[in-house]
C-alpha cells in the first residue's frame, strides 16, 4: 500500500506520530527522577509514590469514579431507550425532536451546557427546593445529559445494522415484545452497550468545564484537581497520573480491540 500511495501513507504515519508523541512523552517523563522536563535525572517511580499519598487527589479520584460509574449506568439505560425510539419508532410523535435533542449535546460547547444547567438548578432550588445546594447529584444529572447522547449514537448504529430476522422469528413464535427485547435484542447489542458504558464513564471522568459550573463546595472531581495543579505548570505527579490513566485505557481498548478483531475476522471467513 505504501508503495502505491506514498503521499497518503506518509501523512498517515505523520498523523499517528502527532497523536502519540505527546502521550509517549508524558509516560517517559513520569519516570523521571528530576522535577524538570528538560533534565533526565534517571529512572524513578517516586512521583507514583507521591501520587498515592496525595489525599485530596485520591478523594477527588474516588468521587469521579463514583459519579462516572453511576453516570455510565444511567446513560446506557436512557441512551438505549433513545436509540430504540430513533431506529424503530419512526412514526411516533416526538421522533424528530428527540433526534435533534440527542444530536445537539454532542457538539454543544461544554461551557454553554454547564452555565445553562447551573441556572436551571438555581431556579429549581428557588421554586421547588430541589436540588438543595449543588454537588454530586447535580454533577451526575449534568453528566447523564450529555453522556446519554454519545451512548445513543453508538447503540443506534448497532441497532440500525442489526439482523432482525431472529427477533421476527421469536415474535412469530409468540414471544412477547418485552421478552424478545431481553432475550434477543439485548444480547445482540451488548457490545454496543459495553462500549457506550465505557465511553460514558470516561466522558464523566474527563469533564472539567461542566462539573466546575454545577459542583458545589466539597464536591471536587479529579479533573478539577488536575486543572488547578496544571495551571501552576508542569507537575511530575500529573505525569504519573496520566500514565496510569493511559495504561488502564490502553489495556481496556486493546482487549476490546482484540475481541472485536477476532470476531470480525471469523465473520469474514464464514461469509
Amino acid at each position: 500500500m505504501f508503495k502505491r500511495y506514498p503521499f497518503l501513507f506518509s501523512v498517515l504515519l505523520l498523523g499517528y506520530a502527532f497523536l502519540y508523541l505527546p502521550i509517549i512523552s508524558l509516560i517517559v517523563y513520569s519516570f523521571n527522577e528530576s522535577r524538570l522536563v528538560t533534565v533526565w535525572g534517571g529512572f524513578s517511580t517516586k512521583w507514583y509514590g507521591e501520587l498515592v499519598n496525595n489525599g485530596p487527589l485520591l478523594d477527588a479520584a474516588w468521587l469521579s469514579i463514583k459519579i462516572g460509574a453511576m453516570n455510565a449506568t444511567l446513560s446506557v439505560v436512557l441512551g438505549t431507550l433513545a436509540a430504540l425510539a430513533l431506529v424503530r419508532f419512526r412514526n411516533l410523535r416526538g421522533h424528530q425532536s428527540l433526534g435533534v435533542m440527542v444530536t445537539a449535546p454532542l457538539v454543544m460547547p461544554e461551557i454553554i451546557i454547564g452555565l445553562s444547567l447551573l441556572l436551571l438548578f438555581v431556579a429549581m432550588e428557588q421554586l421547588i427546593g430541589w436540588p438543595a445546594g449543588r454537588g454530586q447529584v447535580t454533577i451526575l444529572l449534568a453528566h447523564v445529559t450529555f453522556s446519554m447522547a454519545y451512548v445513543t449514537v453508538i447503540v443506534q448504529s448497532r441497532l440500525a445494522h442489526m439482523d432482525r430476522s431472529i427477533e421476527e422469528a421469536a415474535l412469530d413464535l409468540g414471544a412477547r415484545p418485552v421478552k424478545v427485547f431481553f432475550r434477543i435484542t439485548l444480547p445482540m447489542i451488548a457490545p454496543a452497550l459495553m462500549a457506550g458504558w465505557l465511553l460514558a464513564f470516561t466522558l464523566s471522568m474527563d469533564d472539567l468545564v461542566i462539573a466546575s459550573f454545577v459542583s458545589g463546595p466539597g464536591s471536587t472531581t479529579l479533573p478539577m484537581v488536575v486543572y488547578s495543579s496544571v495551571r501552576l505548570g508542569v507537575s511530575p505527579q500529573i505525569n504519573a497520573l496520566a500514565t496510569i490513566i493511559i495504561g488502564v485505557v490502553a489495556m481496556a481498548v486493546l482487549i476490546a480491540g482484540v475481541v472485536l478483531y477476532r470476531k470480525e475476522m471469523r465473520k469474514q471467513q464464514e461469509g
Binding site: 500500500m1 500511495y5 497518503l8 501523512v11 498517515l12 498523523g15 499517528y16 502527532f18 505527546p22 502521550i23 512523552s25 524538570l36 522536563v37 528538560t38 441512551g79 431507550l81 433513545a82 425510539a85 424503530r88 412514526n91 411516533l92 416526538g94 421522533h95 428527540l98 435533542m101 444530536t103 445537539a104 454543544m108 460547547p109 461544554e110 461551557i111 454553554i112 451546557i113 452555565l115 445553562s116 444547567l117 441556572l119 436551571l120 431556579a123 449534568a142 445529559t145 446519554m148 445513543t152 440500525a160 415474535l171 415484545p177 465511553l199 471522568m205 474527563d206 468545564v209 488536575v226 496544571v230 500529573i238 497520573l241 496520566a242 490513566i245 485505557v249 481498548v253 470480525e264 475476522m265
Partner: protein, 313 residues
C-alpha cells in the same frame, strides 16, 4: 414492535392506552430527560441574560418581581446585549473564536483527509486496528492530553530542546501561550472527530467511477479531484461541523495553551462567570454564541443524515 400498529388512536380510551404504551414510555423517557435538562435550561439562560447583575445570592435581579401583594412588575434589561455590541472586547472575542474554529477546522481537514483516505485504501484487516489507533487517544483524558503539550511547547520544553540540540535554531522559540499553541492543541484534540465521519464516507465510495476515470486515462490526481473529492463532500462537511461547533466555545485549550492575546468567547464567558460573578453578562454571551451556532448545527444535521443514508445503501 409487532402486531397491527395503530398510529392514530381513535377513542379517548385508546388515546389513553397509547399514551402509556411501551413505545411511548421508551420514547418519552429520554425525551423528557433532554427536554428538562437540555432544552429548558436555555430558557433560563435567555431569562437571566435579560436581568441585571447584583451582589446577592444568586447574583442577579429577577426581572419578574412581586412588588406588593399580587402586583408583579416586569423590568427587562437589554444592557448586557448592548454592551456585547458596543464593547470591542466581546466582538473581538467572538471573531477570535470564529477565526480559531475555522482555521483549525481547515488544518484538521488537511491532516485528517489524507489519513482517512489512507485508512480507507488500506487492506481490510488493517482498517480496524488503524481506526482504533485514531480513537484511542480520545479515550484518555482530554485535559491531560492538552497538558502534555505544555511540556513540549514551553520555552525549555522538549521541542525547543530538540531543535536547539539539532542546531536548527539558536534561541528557543516562543510557542506556548501564542495562537500557534492553541491551533496545535485544537487540531490535536479534535482530529478524531473529523477522521471518523470522513472515513465512513470514503470507505463506501463507488469504485466503479474511479475505474472508469482511470480507464479513460485520467491521472491519479485528476481522478481524486474529479471523482473522490466531490463524492466525499457530505463527510467533509459533517466532520468539519463536529470540529467547528465545539471549538467555537472551547475553554480549556485557549486557557492552558493560549496567551493573554488569545481572545475566545468560551474563555471570556468563564472569566465573566467565575471571576467577575456577572451571571447575566455570561448568559448574554452564551445566548449570542448559541444563536451563532444554529446555522452550522443545521448544516451538520443535514450532512450527517446524508452520510447515514449513504451508509444504509
Amino acid at each position: 414492535m409487532n402486531g397491527p400498529v395503530k398510529l392514530i388512536p381513535q377513542t379517548p380510551l385508546e388515546k389513553m392506552r397509547s399514551l402509556v404504551s411501551g413505545r411511548a414510555v421508551i420514547l418519552g423517557t429520554p425525551w423528557f430527560w433532554l427536554a428538562l435538562f437540555f432544552v429548558l435550561p436555555f430558557l433560563f439562560v435567555l431569562k437571566i441574560s435579560l436581568s441585571e447583575a447584583q451582589l446577592a445570592q444568586p447574583p442577579y435581579l429577577d426581572w419578574i418581581r412581586e412588588v406588593e401583594d399580587g402586583l408583579v412588575t416586569i423590568q427587562l434589561n437589554f444592557g448586557n446585549y448592548l454592551m456585547l455590541f458596543e464593547d470591542e472586547l466581546y466582538r473581538d472575542a467572538l471573531w477570535g473564536s470564529f477565526e480559531v474554529a475555522s482555521i483549525s477546522t481547515l488544518l484538521c481537514l488537511l491532516l485528517g483527509y489524507p489519513m482517512a483516505y489512507a485508512i480507507s485504501l488500506s487492506p481490510n484487516h488493517w482498517r480496524l486496528p488503524l481506526l482504533m489507533l485514531i480513537i484511542l487517544p480520545f479515550w484518555t483524558s482530554f485535559l491531560i492530553r492538552v497538558y502534555a503539550w505544555i511540556g513540549i511547547l514551553k520555552g525549555n520544553g522538549l521541542l525547543n530542546q530538540l531543535l536547539l540540540g539539532l542546531g536548527i535554531i539558536d534561541t528557543p522559540l516562543e510557542i506556548l501561550h501564542t495562537p500557534v499553541a492553541v491551533y496545535i492543541g485544537v487540531v490535536y484534540s479534535y482530529l478524531p472527530f473529523l477522521v471518523l465521519p470522513l472515513y465512513a464516507t470514503l470507505v463506501r465510495l463507488d469504485n466503479t467511477l474511479l475505474e472508469a476515470a482511470a480507464d479513460l486515462g485520467a491521472r491519479p490526481w485528476k481522478q481524486f479531484l474529479k471523482v473522490t473529492l466531490p463524492q466525499s463532500v457530505p463527510g467533509i462537511l459533517a466532520g468539519s461541523m463536529l470540529v467547528f461547533i465545539p471549538v467555537m466555545g472551547e475553554f480549556v485549550i485557549p486557557d492552558l495553551l493560549g496567551g493573554p492575546d488569545t481572545l475566545m468567547i468560551g474563555k471570556l464567558m468563564w472569566t465573566e462567570f467565575f471571576s467577575n460573578k456577572d451571571w447575566p453578562l455570561a448568559s448574554a454571551l452564551a445566548s449570542v454564541l448559541l444563536l451563532v451556532l444554529i446555522i452550522p448545527f443545521v448544516l451538520m444535521r443535514h450532512y450527517e443524515q446524508k452520510v447515514a443514508e449513504r451508509e444504509q445503501k
